[in-house]
């Protein structure tokens, strides 16, 4: 038991939790924006991959780190636009379109990578984002290492949570997005464009998701690998429900998942000799399901989620 306490009390553990959570924060915020507008975006896994690949490749080709972030966001926006066009004005199945976009974005990223780098036995590296090491703050006991030794992208993710919450609850745009996910005809009858809002939200949300991928290749690591997204996108879809579509809870959910994962890794070395490793690896998923059971009753679906809107059709 004391080992467990030791883990929980260590600053490095919390630093790791935040690091592991960062791509999830981008992903869940992006997914939340799409879903708040009424569009489920199962393209997320592919958009992560595209962001990871495109951002990395841009830096590798000399675009600079922030240039890479921009390219990743643009790549995410591009695939988001495809999903948006298929599901919003065309009203096609959000499930299929999303999975189609995942296939498309993933295979296009892989194909592009392989065509550009046909023969690499060891993937090329870039100079990735470094932990900020903010002078005084980083040296604070406990808080310092846990919070202030993260890279800029982690702070960007945290800032995006605040920005999303502000936009959603305080600005006309956010109110319109909330409304279009609840009852599109409320938006249309007030002279706003349902399609415009939804397409915009999906594109913006997808750009943010792609940053989660970019974090993997530009901060958590410095090279691109096939399959490195490894289900993180899907986790974000689950976290969005867990978060009841609220930015604050989304952050909490991502952090919890990150903490489970960081904890799992540490516990595996503690008692790994008695318990099969897979039990630890299952932990974050099982705990997510358990957490969901607890919050399920209160979950507050965007009522128009998955429902395409056709003007003048009944």
């Amino acid at each position: 038991m004391s080992e467990i306490l030791d883990i929980l009390l260590s600053a490095n553990f919390w630093a790791a939790s935040l690091r592991i959570a960062t791509p999830l924060i981008f992903g869940v915020i992006g997914a939340l924006i799409c879903e708040r507008a009424g569009v489920l975006n199962l393209g997320i896994e592919g958009i992560f991959t595209a962001g990871a690949m495109a951002g990395w490749m841009a830096v590798w080709l000399g675009a600079g780190l922030w240039g890479g972030v921009l390219v990743a966001a643009l790549a995410g926006g591009f695939f988001g636009l495809i999903h948006a066009i298929l599901t919003v004005p065309l009203g096609l199945s959000q499930h299929v379109s999303g999975i189609g976009v995942t296939l498309f974005a993933t295979s296009l990223s892989y194909f592009t990578y392989r065509t550009a780098l046909p023969d690499v036995s060891s993937p090329p590296r870039i100079e990735a984002f470094k932990p900020l090491d903010i002078p005084v703050l980083s040296d604070l006991p406990f808080i310092g290492p846990a919070l202030f030794q993260q890279t800029s992208l982690t702070f960007l993710a945290l800032a995006l949570v605040l920005a999303t919450a502000y936009v959603l609850y305080r600005t006309p745009l956010g109110l319109a997005i909330q409304a279009v996910g609840d009852n599109p005809s409320a938006v249309e009858s007030q002279g706003l464009s349902v399609y415009g809002l939804r397409i915009g939200a999906v594109v913006a949300g997808s750009s943010i998701m792609a940053l989660g991928g970019a974090f993997l290749t530009m901060s958590a690591f410095d090279a691109f690998f096939f399959g490195m997204v490894n289900g993180r996108g899907w986790i974000c879809i689950a976290l969005t429900v867990f978060a009841s579509w609220r930015p604050g809870k989304a952050l909490l959910g991502a952090l919890l998942f990150g903490a489970f994962d960081a904890f799992q890794v540490r516990l595996q070395t503690e008692v790994g000799s008695f318990i099969p490793g897979q039990v630890f690896l299952m932990m974050p998923y099982l705990l997510s399901i358990a957490a969901l059971v607890v919050v399920a009753r209160r979950a507050d679906y965007p009522r128009a989620l998955l429902v395409p809107y056709f003007r003048g059709q009944r």
Binding site: N12, F13, V120, S121, S122, F225, G227, V265, Q268, T269
Partner: protein, 304 residues
């Protein structure tokens, strides 16, 4: 008959060619192609379900030699090979060769792993060594066990932390596992996966390379590496096919240090001199056939 023209070789990989050990096969085949001995083509990331079809398609295309990994598709691979007796097959396998044309190889770098273990055991100050692996499969377990044995042979007090991340490709995750081990006091990390050396470099500790030489990417971090060279195996097989003398055989021993299939490197600026000497002596014993490293394929466990 001795073929003058390059022979046609195809490789089938179940993972992308970047995967460490597949990259060694790819490298050896590319070298043979550059020498003009073969023409080389490959399919990567081939799903299990599709493996048999891909084998047949290459066989139908008239490949002279097909190289691949039969680990998860043993039965099917052997069946296909039997149906194309004119094609030579050289497959990664834990089992033996089969008539008429099915040869096997495996990555047997347990010897250099043992040696790098000796270096690590002598170098560690905290007496804690962390090991991050992909999956607990025999090819991985074997190396880890040899490494651990090497380390304890010189330092009985050394303790090991073992984690598997359940993915061949998740460097961020491997890195996090490595960080966790550093938190637990590890000062040397066995880098079975991409990502581990990065954690070591970032935290200023040492790492042990595996299969490929990454010392150039992490200057001052890679203490020692156990390298695998597929060239002896490939060159032997290509030569046999060219010479019309290809026979089912176990090419595994070509991965041993003796024929040059495995090698051991150490950064002498990072390791204590006497440890380097001990390891080099042991290397010689192995080469001379005086010492045999145990092969232990069971899953390694943390010892603290």
């Amino acid at each position: 008959a001795v073929a003058a023209d390059p022979i046609k070789v195809a490789a089938i990989y179940t993972v992308p060619v970047e995967q460490q050990w597949v990259s060694r096969i790819d490298k050896a085949l590319n070298a043979a192609q550059d020498r003009g001995e073969i023409t080389y083509t490959f399919s990567e990331n081939v799903a299990n379900t599709d493996y048999e079809r891909v084998m047949r398609e290459y066989a139908e295309q008239g490949m002279d030699l097909i190289v691949g990994e039969a680990f998860a598709v043993e039965r099917a691979a052997r069946k296909v090979a039997a149906e194309y007796p004119d094609t030579a097959f050289l497959m990664g396998s834990s089992f033996g060769p089969a008539q008429p044309n099915f040869s096997v190889f495996d990555n047997w770098v347990h010897e250099p792993s043992y040696l790098s273990g000796m270096i690590a055991g002598a170098t560690t100050k905290s007496n804690v060594i962390g090991m991050v692996g992909g999956y607990a499969i025999p090819e991985v377990n074997r190396l880890m066990n040899a490494f651990m044995e090497g380390a304890t042979s010189v330092n009985p007090d050394v303790k090991f932390l073992v984690t598997f991340i359940n993915s061949w490709y998740d460097p961020p995750k491997a890195k996090e596992s490595a960080f966790a081990m550093i938190d637990k006091g590890a000062d040397i990390l066995y880098a079975e996966r991409f990502g581990v050396s990065d954690a070591a470099k970032e935290k200023g500790i040492l790492a042990i390379g595996n299969v490929i030489d990454t010392a150039g990417d992490y200057p001052g971090t890679i203490l020692s590496s156990a390298l695998w060279h597929m060239e002896p195996t490939i060159d032997k097989a290509v030569g046999a096919v060219k010479g019309g003398s290809f026979e089912p055989a176990d090419y595994g021993p070509f991965s041993f240090m003796g024929p040059g299939g495995g090698s051991f490197v150490v950064d002498e600026s990072l390791a204590p001199a006497d440890a380097v000497k001990a390891a080099k002596d042991k290397e010689q014993e192995i080469m001379d056939g005086l010492f045999r490293v145990n092969v232990n394929d069971t899953e390694p466990k943390s010892t603290m």
